[in-house]
Symmetry: C2
Subunit: 137 residues, 2 copies
DNA sequence: TATTGTTATACTCTATAACTATA
DNA sequence: TATAGTTATAGAGTATAACAATA
């Protein structure tokens, strides 16, 4: 069991480290990358996005500001509720997210290359059985 | 393969999130926790510790300052090289690290509880076959 | 000259509290 | 009053560049 716990965290840190480096190469932080990942197929309000990212709404303001300033996303004022706005990726943001995901895929493929196809499938199955059912892709 | 990549990152973020929350409950950040983990069985110099954590030496100065101010570790001047110092955990730091690790163990045990013992062993084996050989425990 | 470490500076990320505008 | 979001403020964490002390 100690082996499993150590392995899980070392794997997690290795993945985060890889993610951090690839992100930095594009002048992005891990949290910015996570935000772009969420916006890939959603157009959430600020509060909703903050909840996804487990951040306070005030923390999100600056995060969105900086990404918007780079032209990666934009605030869309809500038509019904004039207090509210949704966050939408721009074409530039989508392009960057796509490039980023490709690079991450290559890195992870290299990481799991030591495993035969059947073992990769087995690993994926075991991982998905551990993840809480509410984790969104 | 997309399943595996998604699963790996979701698992990684779930672990980091759990770690962040347990750390925050003890007024610690993830990087402070990692530092304490490394110091559990080492007494490295500043440069060595920075290398373990993949940080610049200047970043480490403040990190060590804050932990030292809380009495979790201390700088030990080197006898041979008067420029250098090693970093050593105090009894207080060791105690906190022990408590923290216990809480993390409980959380991860709960996470992997859906898996039967044999599957947990299988998962550990697969993970260790993926990790680069140089990853220190 | 090279190495170990700190300091100065600037930026991102984060939370808490107070605020604005709208519901 | 309650809610969506921003702003003010403070602090941690990070890097780059310049520095001090020692090798």
């Amino acid at each position: 069991m100690a082996d499993l716990i150590d392995g899980l965290f070392q794997l997690s840190f290795a993945l985060q480290s890889a993610l951090t480096k690839i992100a930095a190469a594009h002048d992005l932080s891990v949290i910015q990358v996570r935000m772009l990942g969420i916006l890939r197929d959603r157009e959430p309000g600020m509060l909703e996005l903050a909840r996804y990212l487990e951040l306070e709404k005030s923390s999100l303001s600056g995060l969105v500001d900086r990404a918007a300033q780079r032209g990666l996303l934009e605030r869309i004022p809500s038509a019904e509720d004039r207090r509210a706005a949704t966050v939408r990726m721009t074409a530039k943001g989508k392009k960057l997210a796509r490039i980023f995901e490709d690079e991450v895929r290559v890195a992870v493929e290299a990481l799991v290359r030591p495993l035969a196809d059947a073992d990769q499938k087995k690993l994926a199955t075991l991982i998905w059985r551990v993840l809480p059912p509410t984790m969104p892709a």
